[in-house]
């Protein structure tokens, strides 16, 4: 079970949906919920920008803290209203992605919003956390309204290590799910990884963890990300589990196509790991 859950706290319009998902998870496992809000930069960085460069007003750092604190206060009130018993606020003086990356080390799961075009959200946050963090990341679409995450779950499986870690990270949810569909898209392309009966080994491994899965194999000309979204819609799934792929060696994160599609357009929360 998830016992410690981190949720990113900010002022954006997607905060409400994000908190609903985090609260749902916290309540279903009696977990401790930690809201993490970041000032956006550290004091030394601020001082540099306010000093010789005079890019920002010299005495505005306190207001960055105040804005974050106010977000946290709203978060605590809303979390308690949603029935979460154990709530904690963390204000971190750093960029959001670095703050969440560090805090997530001592948690079981991080909850963020989907990567959207909304100017108020931190661009690239979910993929950064998924690729560089050590814990699974749940990205929540802004339209998420509180539906149970353990009704029908679709798990994308391609034999790779990121997908494996995503499944491991999702295990508590899979164990509580009504139905789990293990989806393999064009498995012949990774024949070496799958062996004779694609999905069978993973189905057996999961069965020993108390998770009964139905294996779905889809052969399609669509890109894998689109194919997965199609399966999600067709099954009426409330949650998708997928590996996150990217080239973390490069300064500018270049994502695999699957991940970008899911991070931007999945209609349901997606649990990622790398």
């Amino acid at each position: 079970m998830y016992k410690t859950i981190i949720v990113h706290v900010d002022d954006s319009g997607s905060m409400d949906a994000r908190l609903r998902a985090a609260a749902w998870l916290a309540n279903s496992g009696a977990a401790h919920l930690v809201g993490v809000a970041a000032t956006g930069m550290t004091w030394p960085v601020y001082a540099m920008l306010a000093g010789s460069l005079a890019v920002v007003p010299a005495n505005e750092f306190d207001s960055l803290r105040d804005v974050a604190r106010a977000s946290l206060a709203r978060f605590t009130e809303a979390a308690r209203a949603l029935g979460v018993a154990s709530v904690e606020e963390r204000l971190v003086e750093d960029a959001s992605r670095d703050a969440l990356l560090l805090q997530s080390r001592y948690a079981d799961l991080v909850v963020t919003s989907q990567d959207a075009d909304d100017a108020a959200t931190v661009r690239g946050l979910p993929q950064y956390l998924a690729l560089h963090g050590v814990r699974p990341v749940l990205t929540v679409p802004a339209a998420y309204a509180g539906a149970a995450l353990t009704d029908v779950v679709v798990v994308g499986w391609d034999g790779s290590a990121p997908a494996l870690r995503a499944i491991e990270g999702a295990l508590p949810l899979l164990q509580g799910a009504r139905a789990v569909r293990l989806a393999l898209v064009n498995p012949e392309r990774e024949a070496g990884l799958h062996g004779d009966d694609p999905g069978a080994d993973m189905a057996l491994y999961l069965a020993r963890h108390g998770v009964q899965v139905e294996v779905f194999t889809e052969r399609t000309a669509l890109p894998a990300g689109e194919a997965l979204l199609g399966i999600v819609r067709a099954c009426g799934a409330g949650l998708l589990v997928s590996g996150a792929y990217g080239h973390s060696r490069y300064r500018e994160i270049v994502l695999g196509g699957v991940t970008r599609v899911l991070l931007e357009r999945a209609p349901v929360p997606v649990l990622f790991a790398h």
Binding site: T4, Y106, G192, Y205, H209
Partner: protein, 280 residues
């Protein structure tokens, strides 16, 4: 999470019986299924469709003894597992040892192998050199390395969890949870080179302990100056505290096919006289 599937390497090494017995004990304790995997040592690039060499052929002359050795190893595995009364299955894999284990480890929660023993010659096979290292990096699963020296029987009760605030340490903490939850005594050892510790680090330590506590693990923190040699400091502390398992993250990176391990990880893997759980 509990271990539900444990994968143990089966071969004809003199360390195999103890390794398999330890894996079987773990399975008995966790109610897990034990898979014993013996590899022919023939890469799947050479024989991609399993061992299908025509009898009497030239290839058979070279490869049959390898396949035979793997089958013998599995017979020995089955005898030990059956005696322990756990649910088990043998798997004969026509592949390189390390590659075969990496692929199979995807469908297990834990991989159990022996510490390298370069002095042992298995005649037919290339000596296993740095196999645990390779597995830790590529298996995407925790790896339990059983020492060449005689290890105590039964499951770990006194665990030394190594921590230094790094991401590798965070991974090790989570990966070791099923073992920590069954231990009677867990020490979280922080090898920090600078004392007194700053408040941010102290907060991180508190967070790590809280994370463990919420998972039912009450770890006692111990702070030590590692000197210049964290690896030996870890082993000394484990001996001092009479631990029967060390759990740690593994530093380093794999460049091309050459593995570059961090000094502490390398020392512990080479010299530990007790089981080590490593994660990457």
């Amino acid at each position: 999470m509990r271990y539900k599937t444990v994968l143990v390497h089966a071969d004809l090494s003199r360390h195999a019986p103890e390794r398999i017995a330890l894996a079987a004990d773990l399975c008995a304790e966790h109610g897990a299924h034990l898979i014993g995997a013996a590899m022919t040592g023939i890469s799947r690039e050479v024989l991609p469709n399993g061992y299908n060499v025509a009898p009497g052929s030239l290839l058979a002359g070279y490869f049959d003894p390898l396949e035979h050795a793997a089958r013998q190893a599995l017979d020995a595995f089955e005898a030990i597992a059956a005696r322990r009364g756990v649910s088990y299955e043998p798997r004969l894999v026509c592949d390189d040892v390390a590659d075969g284990l990496v692929l199979l480890a995807r469908f297990a929660d834990l991989l159990v192998v022996s510490q390298d023993d370069p002095a042992e010659s298995l005649g037919y096979a290339a000596p296993a050199v740095r196999m645990p290292d390779h597995l830790v990096f590529h298996a995407a699963r925790p790896v339990l390395v059983v020492p060449a020296a005689h290890a105590a029987q039964g499951c770990a009760r006194r665990v030394l969890l190594c921590w230094n605030g790094s991401r590798e340490a965070a991974l090790a903490m989570a990966g070791a949870l099923p073992l920590l939850q069954r231990a009677t005594h867990t020490t979280l050892a922080w090898f920090a080179p600078a004392f007194p510790v700053d408040s941010a680090s102290a907060q991180e330590l508190a967070d790590a302990l809280a994370f463990l506590k919420r998972h039912g693990v009450h770890a006692e923190p111990v702070l030590r100056d590692p000197g210049h040699d964290t690896g030996h400091a870890i082993l000394r502390l484990a001996a001092e505290l009479d631990c029967d398992l060390v759990a740690m993250g593994c530093f380093g990176h794999s460049q091309f096919s050459e593995l570059l391990l961090g000094g502490a990880s390398r020392t512990v893997l080479r010299e530990a006289a007790l089981p080590v759980l490593m994660m990457h």
